[in-house]
Subunit: 113 residues, 2 copies
Amino acid sequence: MVSAFDIIAEPNRRAILSLLVSSEQSVGEIESRLRLPQPTVSKHLRVLREAGFVEFTVDAQRRLYRLRPESLQELDAWLAPFRRFWSAHVDALERHLDRMDRSTPAKKTRRRK
Amino acid sequence: MVSAFDIIAEPNRRAILSLLVSSEQSVGEIESRLRLPQPTVSKHLRVLREAGFVEFTVDAQRRLYRLRPESLQELDAWLAPFRRFWSAHVDALERHLDRMDRSTPAKKTRRRK
DNA sequence: CTGCTATATACCTTGATATACATATGCATC
DNA sequence: GATGCATATGTATATCAAGGTATATAGCAG
């Protein structure tokens, strides 16, 4: 388990992260909302913790977990080049492909299947 | 292999996508740049294709692959709530935590390890 | 001090899934 | 026939998640 991509590839971990968007939650709350056994939740939380996605506050016997938003900035950063790509070119690309459909003499075939 | 998250969890696939940011590439080009055997590249390309991440153009015996930027918008969308979270609160949170460090009577402990 | 609560952690087992690699074949195009 | 690619097959390997169970620990309540 190395990259942030592996971390968020797991659905339960994404669910945990999404839970924490609204507010911090104790392990027990996460456990009951996601209907997962406690050791499973703790295990995922550990992964998320060690990857820097969450941190916690001790409150008596409970630990209140919350997001560490900085961690997702890595994903955001990876996405950046693509975002530039699509936001700049998606309209132009569509127009381009439309032109191809209408005018290209079928030397090139577009779209598989 | 269901979600876009699984798709980009694989390093070689991310590498392929990154290659395609600059321009479209033939399978052979991808193959030699990533130093991967041809069937491996084709397999990853198939996954990316079926997930809607790439599409290709037939050019004689070659297939020129290019990005379909729309696909990454799903990731972008998932990230959105978190982005709002951090961009709105990261400064405030830091100030908040700093205050806790200095003033909290140690009923709550912050940061593990 | 006792016992309960909340959580972490350690094991273990099972099952699923994916990747890599090699090799072979099919097919279309040149 | 050679090139470029897709695909199939087979195998080996790795990794991981889930589930269960058991234990350790810290804080709290009585």
